[in-house]
């Protein structure tokens, strides 16, 4: 890979500085960034949100908006400075020389056009005048190449008919359509399940190795970098903190920030430990028996569609001992979120028995007889689960008022006591959600859940919308709260390592069924369930012990 370093590198970014002209004046987004990318090389750019990594990617593709200004430095492709090219010349490079893969497979494809046509229009933009039949042939060939089964049949599918992994494969196929020399991939796998993530990374690495593609991989995930990058650039606040070969950065990080980033990555321990084992199981706070839920085809607008019932949950049973944490792990569509929503009384179950705090609850109804209000929920995205027009204090006070109806008047001091416990400064009480950081917002959500004095807390992916370092803080806060106040919790996550860190027992879900269930150290250490093993194997090796 270092064979061609004596000649000009394929891409050279030198002293790049980008400023953004916004309403509040000029802000520097990227400062003095320099790196090179050789042929057949994978460069990882890693950093937390706001580090400026995506802006660099956009600058290379030529997608930064007019509000950005490249005030200093240069981006050279094969020795040609890109900033000297006209808009027209830059458009000719896009797709043909520099292609890109975006993060969100749900939104990077036009929902109204078949995937085949979206791929085909890329081909005809690059090779104008190609006959239709030839475009179709190439489209199907490309779809097959990125590992889509039955590519000819999938040609006329619309994006919503494909799974997330398939859509991201289509996006990769589109990127490959013009046989580019560089692909800029911005978080190409963050929206995907672990096992699919691994497949997509394998495809990318394979392309790099076989056709000599160069890849710029922008990510927040150390695991992704570890899996395929040759070199890593670590960024913070628009500047490069450290750059070196991947193995060097991962094994001997020089800078403190890199060390922090690495240590914040949750690790999976595969050797059985006795840390979480409990000598005897106390009475369960929650028992779920044979819970089922189906979503059925009553689609009024689907004039031509056939009604079809689909199981979201099928005979799921579980128990949570008082004062313990049950982790539910699964990929998207496994039904883990549906369980959480039924337990919180937000959705109804079709059949099954739920016993909470010694009382059988009616899962087909909400309200006092059901679960609503007795179980509190912590949602994935704190930005979406707080009312933007209410201050922190108002949000928490509302929660006290709501519970006062059942439990009589509550002491307003409870709010400050709770926020102190959550590590939130009292000055934050008068702020609105948009004035808080992601971590602070999630702390408010946890405080809100605890103030309601629930019998059980359901946390649905409470950390996945947060940066790695903040993730670690929130997990340890939850862990501390659980041990201090003897809380019972159901913790839903796709991340095995986080689950292992906090949960006493784990249930693995797949396609609406409970695939594997047991104490944490049994699941991670000795379980012989094939699917459990596959999930564990999908994690990058350097973060398992």
């Amino acid at each position: 890979m270092s064979a061609s370093t004596t000649t000009t590198p394929l891409l050279e970014v030198r002293d790049l500085t980008l400023r953004h002209n916004g309403r509040g004046g000029q802000t520097t987004i990227v400062q003095n960034v320099s790196f090179t990318l050789g042929r057949g090389e994978v460069l990882g750019i890693i950093g937390e949100s706001g580090a400026g990594k995506s802006t660099i990617g956009n600058a290379v593709i030529g997608l930064v908006g007019k509000s950005f200004e490249q005030s200093f430095g240069t981006i050279r492709l094969d020795g040609v400075a890109l900033e000297t090219l006209s808009d027209r010349e830059r458009r000719k490079l896009r797709g043909k020389t520099i292609a890109s893969i975006f993060q969100d497979h749900t939104s990077s494809l036009d929902p109204l056009m078949t995937v085949g046509n979206q791929l085909g229009e890329t081909i005809s933009a690059i090779h104008p005048g190609l006959p239709r039949s030839e475009i179709r042939r190439r489209t199907i060939e490309l779809l097959g190449w990125v590992g889509i089964a039955d590519p000819a049949g999938r040609h006329d599918s619309y994006p919503h008919q494909l799974s997330g992994g398939q859509r991201q494969r289509v996006v990769i196929a589109i990127a490959l359509a013009g046989s580019p020399s560089i692909i800029v991939a911005d978080e190409p796998t963050s929206a995907l399940d672990a096992t699919v993530q691994k497949q997509i990374l394998d495809i990318l690495r394979n392309l790099v190795d076989t056709i000599g593609l160069s890849l710029i991989l922008i990510t927040h995930d150390m695991g992704v970098v570890a899996a395929i990058a040759d070199k890593v650039v670590v960024m913070k606040d628009g500047e490069i903190v450290e750059q070196d070969a991947t193995s060097t950065v991962l094994e001997n990080p020089k800078e403190l920030y890199t060390q922090q980033l690495l240590s914040a990555v949750p690790r999976l321990h595969l050797s059985p430990s006795a840390a979480h084992s409990q000598p005897e199981e106390p009475a369960p706070i929650l028992v779920v028996e044979n819970l089922s839920r189906s979503f059925g085809g009553g689609n009024i607008r689907g004039l031509l569609g056939k009604p079809s019932a689909k199981f979201a949950l099928k005979n799921v049973s579980l128990r949570v001992p008082r004062g313990s944490v049950l982790g539910i792990v699964g990929e998207s569509g496994s039904g883990k979120t549906t369980i959480g929503r039924i337990l919180a009384g937000l959705e109804k179950g079709d059949s099954g028995k739920v016993t909470l705090d010694g009382r059988a609850r009616d899962i087909s109804r909400s309200g006092d007889e059901g679960l609503l209000g007795h179980v509190q929920m912590i949602f994935q995205d704190p930005a979406l689960s707080l009312n933007p027009r209410m201050t922190v204090a108002e949000t928490l006070r509302e929660c006290l008022r709501f519970t006062a109806r059942k439990e009589g008047p509550r002491n307003p001091d409870e709010i400050t006591r709770m926020t102190d416990r959550m590590g939130l400064a009292r000055t934050l009480l008068s702020r609105y959600p948009h004035q808080l950081s992601g971590g602070q917002k999630q702390r408010v959500c946890i405080a809100r859940a605890l103030l309601a004095r629930p019998a059980l807390i359901v946390a649905d992916e409470p950390t996945s919308a947060l940066d790695v370092s903040v993730q670690a803080e929130i997990v340890s806060l939850l862990k501390q709260t659980v041990t201090e106040s003897g809380l019972s919790m159901v913790f839903i996550s796709h991340d095995l390592a986080i689950v292992q860190g906090i949960c006493d027992a784990v249930g693995i879900m797949k396609d609406g069924r409970m695939e594997d269930f047991g104490p944490s150290d049994f699941i991670f250490g000795r379980s012989e369930n094939a699917y459990t093993r596959r999930l564990i194997d999908a994690r990058p090796k350097i973060f398992t012990h």
């Binding site: 292609a99 890109s100 036009d110 890329t122 009024i300 689907g302 056939k306």
Partner: protein, 325 residues
């Protein structure tokens, strides 16, 4: 199966709407005044003549019976006989329908094409001077009352320049049993001003919708991805942006079209356009109950039919509705 249930749903919706409308219309007309005085000559009529006319029109019956008679007439499809014109009420509405229909259709065509064009033009350049001009003038176009707009159009287009006739349908030609103005050049010239009067507020409405939609779609990830794919602006606009903004516009076009068919009263009156709206107003003034009820019934049917049509267009345009997997 699904299709059948949708159709049944729509039909029952239509019947409910017509039922409520007939009740409201019936009671309303009944409380306005006695239609007998519009039928007989008040100056010369003897009490005996008035009594005879009352019996002839069925107005001596109790109100509930009159309503039942009306329902019976609806069920047989005649809507009764006009008190004034002595013709079947529904036939009268049908006669006026072609005039209203061509007016509304041309107005909606003009509004859709110009509105989309201006909206997309503004939406692709948000914040630019052109954008500001289009947005600001759309506010004016929407807030100007239509009688004033119509009068200004007559003043400029007919009185001052003499380019277009100030009113009437002009020469018509027959097609499919109806009279149409657009088939003759004289008729076309008569169409211009009323079409503009109806279209201008709708151009503004559609332009605002299209602008908002364009700004939203241009910000979406797939548009950026199309740019990154190396597609031209033109291709992105016509093949990605336009289909994606068309859904809300189809809805509003359908609704506005229905509104024009039924309630283009002001424009039709000012331009002396013999359409359904004008018939409705005239009939209300003359307390010609059968014609009013026939017009209202037609309006209800038109709205339900247009709504169904809009939903069908949705199915064609949006694969997510068409294929639910």
């Amino acid at each position: 199966m699904a299709l059948l249930s949708v159709i049944t749903g729509r039909l029952s919706q239509a019947f409910l709407l017509i039922f409520v409308m007939s009740l409201v219309g019936f009671i309303g007309i009944h409380s306005v005044g006695n239609p007998v005085y519009n039928v007989v000559n008040i100056e010369t009529a003897t009490p005996e003549e008035i009594r005879r006319a009352t019996i002839l029109l069925g107005l001596d019956q109790p109100v509930w019976r009159q309503y039942l008679v009306f329902v019976q007439n609806v069920a047989t499809g005649t809507f009764g006989t006009s008190y004034i014109y002595h013709q079947p009420a529904f036939g009268l509405v049908l006669d006026k329908l072609s005039a209203t229909f061509e007016l509304a259709l041309f107005a909606m065509l003009v509004a859709t094409v110009l509105g989309l064009g201006l909206g997309v033009l503004a939406g692709t350049r948000p914040g630019s001077p052109l954008d500001r001009v289009i947005v600001t003038s759309s506010v004016y176009a929407l807030s100007v009352p239509s009688f004033w707009l119509s009068m200004m159009l007559i003043l400029v287009g007919a009185v001052m320049t003499g380019w277009f006739p100030p009113g009437g349908r002009g020469l018509t030609a027959n097609l499919l049993g109806f009279d149409w103005s657009f088939l003759t050049s004289d008729g076309l010239r008569h169409l211009v001003l009323p079409v503009l009067a109806l279209a201008i507020p709708n151009i503004a409405l559609i332009a605002r919708l299209a602008r908002a939609g364009t700004v939203e779609v241009e910000r979406m990830e797939f548009t950026r991805f199309c740019v990154a794919k190396g597609l031209s602006r033109r291709r992105i606009l016509f093949h990605h942006t336009l289909p994606n903004i068309s859904l809300p516009i189809v809805t509003i076009v359908g609704l506005q079209f229905g509104g024009m068919l039924a309630f283009a009263v002001v424009v039709e009156s000012i331009f002396a356009w013999p359409g359904v709206g004008k018939l409705l107003i005239d009939s209300i003034q003359l307390l010609d109950r059968p014609v009013v009820m026939a017009t209202l019934t037609f309006t209800a049917i038109a709205f339900v039919a247009l709504n169904t049509l809009v939903d069908l267009v949705y199915v064609v345009l949006d694969p997510r509705v068409r294929i639910s997997t």
